[in-house]
Symmetry: C2
Subunit: 290 residues, 2 copies
């Protein structure tokens, strides 16, 4: 199967709004994207909240944009039952927001060891955290099915296992999907972000395994050498070592035909530049390097 | 099976000499370890070269120490056939040095994309690099078998896939062992360094798969939250989030009964402290937190 030709236009480009979060509030980001003919965005909850959910939903509709995903639910593990219950409440709200915004899926970053993100892990039992993630997704999925909002588990790079997500390979994410949604109903799948999975020797096989029922979102950026910060030193497509077209080929062979979403966290480079320059570069690199 | 009791002494402690490389040259490190009743070390090639191979070999014997490994061979991928041939020559020299030092195994850090460690990858084809790693280990193994020096492939954390090692999980390393040494002869195995593999959801199963024929070395330190540098911010055992005794239990259940080797790279903390304090802390933590 031939790769879709991205070189002529940016019909399949989506901008994850974190990419220009340092420059603009979400309402401006939406306008700037629309002005450039960018058809899709994937906003973060805090950016939506800062502008107002209904206002964002209206603006997205008015500008003729769609979402490629909504970021994000998850963060399920907790020390106490109360902690975990609050996480479930919050995930139900995230599902509702995704629904209001007409998102195709809610991205799930599952969480790691409770307290680790704040610098002080409350325990070291990653197997326990993984069990709580299983239970949290199961409970959220019950609710999400009712309102028909697919959940997309995003395996995060193993360097985030302690503090952000203890689902760290596509295989592990798909195993969990098979457990919780054995019929491959479409209610539960994965988000494949190249930054997190590019290194995986089983990547091609697991993308094929995912197929259209499970592969709900595709995120791109690049891995820089050297990488100077564990979180906020992602590269623009083409500036790093990921063979993006090759992996996009695998993704499209699996049946995926959706947006290619650019998500770049970059304290020292892209977040310091003019937002328009960043978006224009995303468009150019989407055509030439994705 | 009960875990070996480390709390009463440090009989099974080994010091990877990189842990105090910023403080002392290798001859001093050997003396300081011997004075503290530390029975084993794992030195690096550049540290050995700085003192002299024969001198180090003599000193190790004179002090009654043994090696738990020798760091390191590998770095096989190259752009040209000449590059790869030079890597093989260098690996043969590393095998010879390991033999002179009476090491139980040569640790192999396989390498990543050529040039990436110098900040400029020469290509993005990680599958090619993995193929060259396969061929490089095969060639080195031919030589190492002749002189009876086991090779221990060390899977490195996925965050090093581009620049240091494109073998990134224990499963992948063991698959390669099975390919190149199907009879489990003892000539080829793995080094399990908790820093690199602690996050892996398949860790327990793969340690069991390794067994005594394959599990040639066991390295410990800790994963800090937050981790401030991709390379040189490892933690002392007990200061991070790894459940070390649990994994040591799996390792010992698999039959491993060798040294627990402490390997800490720490620009901003342990490398700034007095070397004696670092070694004393390693001893204390080996007893209480490993």
């Amino acid at each position: 199967m031939a790769l879709r030709d991205f070189s002529k236009d940016h019909h399949w480009l989506s901008i994850n709004t974190a990419t220009v979060r340092a420059q603009w509030k979400l309402d401006r980001i939406i306008d700037e994207c629309a002005q450039r003919g960018i058809r899709a965005i994937s906003p973060w909850r805090d950016q939506v909240a800062a502008v107002g959910l209904e206002k964002v939903a209206q603006q997205v509709r008015a500008q003729g944009l769609v979402l490629s995903g909504y970021c994000r639910g998850g963060m399920f593990p907790g020390v106490t039952a109360g902690d975990r219950e609050r996480a479930l409440d919050d995930n139900r709200r995230a599902v509702d927001e995704a629904k209001t915004l007409n998102a195709p899926c809610l991205i799930i970053v599952v969480g790691g060891l409770p307290g680790a993100l704040q610098g002080k892990a409350q325990h070291k039992d990653i197997a326990r955290a993984r069990g709580e993630v299983h239970d949290g997704i199961a409970a959220t999925l019950d609710y999400a099915r009712q309102v028909r909002m697919p959940l997309a588990i995003e395996p995060l790079h193993p360097m985030y296992a302690a503090d952000r997500a203890c689902i760290n390979t596509l295989e592990q994410a798909l195993d969990l999907c098979d457990e919780l949604d054995p019929s491959r109903s479409g209610a539960l799948g994965v988000a494949v972000d190249l930054y997190h999975v590019w290194w995986d020797p089983k990547l091609q096989a697991q993308i094929a395994r995912a197929g259209t029922q499970r592969l709900l979102a595709f995120h791109v950026c690049d891995w820089l050498v050297p990488t100077r910060d564990l979180l906020n030193d992602r590269g623009m497509m083409g500036d790093g070592v990921i063979d993006i077209p090759r992996v996009r080929g695998w993704v499209e062979e699996s049946g995926f035909a959706g947006f290619s979403e650019v998500e770049i966290f970059s304290t020292e480079n892209w977040w310091k530049r003019d937002g328009g320059e960043v978006l224009d570069t995303c468009i150019e690199r989407h055509r030439s390097r994705v």
